[in-house]
């Protein structure tokens, strides 16, 4: 007890020194709202850890201002997210916000954030309406638009000559977005489109139907725990060898691979990043992240890392004066930073134009499960909703 008290005092003293050193500049406060508790806490943790890692590159300063990250937990509940965001805007007086991983939370808070005049930089959630009709000068997405990963898969599988595709996803808007994206490049002729309940545990009935249908391939989108359940059960049904399994973001990556185990070997994912991507930024990220947190970064982590760098580069470009909103918006739109994805720029609707890859789960030299890079499946892909976006000047 005494010991920890002394540490607290020391930390306090250190903080005072740090503060006095930077007193010349008021700190830049960034509100980071994400899912930190419950089963989805792993996603918020990866996003935040990588975000903090990115900020360390310049000693937690941006545009000459010290950076203070205010962390909030949305518990995957839209109303809790709203309360946290309100607190950050009104009470903590943050300068800009980021962090949210789930679309339903983002949709609950985006209007109050933008109404308050703050910028929101999304590391992950990219629902279609925000890319289209409801696009906004102060809203940027560093992740992807929900359709994108599956557009890549659709194009690839059409080229490979797959005919009978069995599609499965939870019955919610992102699931529908993924199917829309897939069909946009594959065509409308699907063998089956199955939507299941959110959070479903047991897929035995669906897998039995699927086996009986004898598809060429299964394309599924089950983020988080659902993906773990589905993949384990798919493998136990002995289908992994017979019917290839394709999926999208957040389903089979470093946040779930440990739990799925060897059952996941052989699965394909359409992704915008892999830990094997050959560019200096990505290699540095891999090494730094593993050194700092003793684990392989997930795609979520890559997104959190890039989000940190996007904000850093834009704030640097305006010399820390983000109150000049027009200038900061311009700086974000033309942001130059070393993306771990290599090729990255914002479209006119502030969603990414980037490349997509096919990755496959393998074991690396150390016997760990990793997402090995197979091939590029899309270059410079923009989303389909940019035409609906009339960005207010």
């Amino acid at each position: 007890m005494k010991h920890s008290f002394r540490i607290a005092v020391l930390a306090g003293v250190a903080a005072t020194f740090a503060a006095s050193a930077a007193r010349a500049q008021t700190p830049l406060k960034i509100g980071f709202v994400s899912s930190m508790s419950g089963p989805e806490g792993v996603i918020g943790r990866d996003l935040l850890d990588a975000f903090n890692l990115a900020l360390k590159d310049k000693n937690n300063t941006m545009g000459g201002r010290p950076v203070q990250v205010v962390v909030g937990d949305d518990q995957v509940k839209p109303d809790v997210g709203r309360a946290v965001v309100d607190k950050m805007i009104d009470s903590d007086k943050v300068d800009l916000l980021t962090g949210i991983n789930f679309s339903n939370v983002l949709l609950a808070v985006i209007k109050p954030i933008l109404d308050s005049g703050k910028f929101y930089i999304s590391p992950n959630a990219g629902p279609s309406q925000l890319a289209g009709k409801q696009c906004n000068p102060h809203l940027f997405s560093v992740g992807f638009q929900n359709d994108n990963n599956f557009e890549g898969l659709g194009k690839y599988m059409k080229e490979k000559g797959f005919k009978k595709i069995y599609f499965m996803a939870p019955n919610y808007p992102a699931g529908k977005d993924m199917l829309t994206g897939f069909k946009r490049y594959f065509g409308d002729a699907m063998q089956a489109e199955v939507f299941t309940a959110m959070g479903q545990l047991d897929y035995s009935a669906e897998i039995a139907q699927l086996r009986a249908a004898k598809p060429d391939a299964v394309v599924m989108f089950y983020p988080g725990g659902m993906g773990i359940n589905f993949t384990k059960q798919y493998a136990q049904a002995g289908l992994m060898k017979d019917i290839p399994l394709y999926t999208g973001p957040g389903t089979v990556d470093q946040t779930t691979l440990g739990a799925i185990g060897d059952a996941a070997i052989g699965m394909y994912t359409g992704a915008m990043w892999s830990e094997f991507l050959d560019n200096p930024a990505s290699k540095k990220f891999d090494a730094d992240f593993e050194a700092a947190y003793k684990r392989i970064p997930s795609q979520y982590a890559a997104q959190g890392y890039d989000t940190g760098h996007v904000i850093q580069a834009a704030v640097d470009a305006v010399g820390g004066k983000i109150d000049d909103k027009a200038a900061f918006q311009k700086a974000l739109e033309n942001v130059k930073f070393d993306s771990v994805r290599g090729n990255f720029k914002f479209n006119t609707n502030h969603f990414p134009i980037q490349d997509y890859y096919l990755v496959q789960v393998e074991k690396d030299a150390k016997g760990r499960l990793v997402s090995a890079l197979k091939q590029k499946i899309m270059s410079n892909l923009a989303d389909a909703y940019v035409g609906d976006c009339q960005m207010p000047k």
Binding site: M36, S37, G72, D73, V76, K77, P78, D79, V80, R82, A83, D86, K87, I89, D90, S91, S103, N104, L107, A108, I110, K111, P112, P127, Q134, P170, N171, Y172, P173, A174, K176, A197, M198
Partner: protein
């Protein structure tokens, strides 16, 4: 002698039944002033959340504290009210019509009463079925109805499905712009005051006495020639309509509603608020809602593992404060009348 005692008890009762809630509501009315004084606009938001939760918890407590009915579907009922307001606003904003017939509206003077009627109807219909059961069976059947409502709104893809529905247009109440946070706070507080006063009168009426009697000894009520089911269904419907009001206010304040507002866990939260505050008085849950919202807002700031201490707080309150927080302020009659807690 006996008479003096009775008068005393009555005066004491009046203090806790009438004056205490008036003081509490008056204190709540000071929240915006306090918020300005300490220059923290978030306090208004926090108290808005507390006031709306309080409306739902007060509504629940009429059947919980007075009727002894542990309902796990009040989040669902509030959700009906919330979606009514949001769907009408949706059609108002995009100029389309609900099921191709009814135009939308952003006028709360229309949508709030409608929200209450729909939620009340929902409660009446489900009440006819569920009130035939009792005890744990009642808890579970209301849970089932709550889940059905939840999945119903998840299935409404047009209105956002699982992602929820944003209210993009503007809402007003007879021209009163409720988008300003202080205005909306007073609006919600006024609604809570009206609701609490209404229920305070209701539970003291003949209707309320029969409801309490049903909870204590239903057989005796039947023997008196009163059909208990009819009274219980009526109470459940009224409680549901009030929950619908809370839901309507919720949607207005958040400008957003999603199925997660209807989860059964939220129903459980309302019970926690009612018990926390004290179920024996109509206004007890108001106290519970305030404490709940404060805990929820400030515990996570202390520790990442805030749910465990919160759980311990809940356990300790059940173990030591059997009349809820009302025990702490020494309010008489704080013990549940309804026999919900023995």
């Amino acid at each position: 002698m006996a008479e003096t005692k009775a008068t005393l008890a009555k005066a004491d009762g009046a203090a806790t039944r009438v004056f205490a809630p008036i003081v509490l509501l008056a204190l709540l009315a000071l929240a915006p002033t306090l918020s300005n004084a300490v220059d923290n606009p978030f306090l208004i938001r926090l108290f808005t959340r507390a006031v709306i939760f309080a409306m739902a918890a007060v509504a629940l407590n009429v059947v919980l504290g007075y009727g002894g009915l542990v309902s796990l579907m009040h989040a669902g009922l509030a959700g009906i009210g919330a979606y009514a307001v949001a769907i009408l606003a949706f059609h108002d904003y995009d100029g389309s019509k609900f099921v191709g017939i009814f135009p939308g509206t952003g006028n709360l003077a229309i949508s709030i009463p409608l929200a209450m009627i729909l939620a009340g109807l929902g409660a009446a219909i489900t009440g006819v079925v569920s009130l035939r059961t009792s005890g744990a069976y009642f808890i579970m059947i209301t849970l089932a109805f709550n889940q059905m409502l939840y999945y119903f709104f998840v299935a409404l893809q047009k209105y956002g499905g699982d992602d929820g529905l944003q209210i993009l247009g503007s809402l007003d109440f007879f021209g009163l712009d409720v988008s300003k946070r202080a205005t909306f706070y007073y609006f919600a507080l006024a609604a809570l005051t009206v609701e609490t006063a209404f229920f305070a009168l209701l539970v003291e009426s003949r209707f309320g006495i029969i409801l309490r009697a049903c909870a204590q000894n239903e057989r005796r009520v039947v023997a008196l020639g009163v059909p208990p089911l009819r009274y219980k269904v009526a109470a459940f419907a009224i409680s549901g309509a009030a929950a619908g009001l809370a839901g309507a206010m919720w949607a207005t304040g958040q400008q957003f509603v999603s199925p997660s507002d209807l989860s059964w866990v939220r129903s459980g939260d309302y019970i926690v608020m009612a018990v926390l505050g004290g179920m024996g008085l109509v206004w007890g849950p108001v106290l519970g809602a305030i404490v709940y919202v404060l805990l929820e807002a400030f515990l996570p700031a202390w520790t990442q593992f805030w749910q465990a201490p919160f759980g311990v707080v809940v356990i300790l309150i059940v173990v030591f404060l059997r009349g809820g927080l009302l025990d702490l302020v020494g309010a008489k009659g704080a013990r549940g009348n309804g026999g919900g807690r023995g």
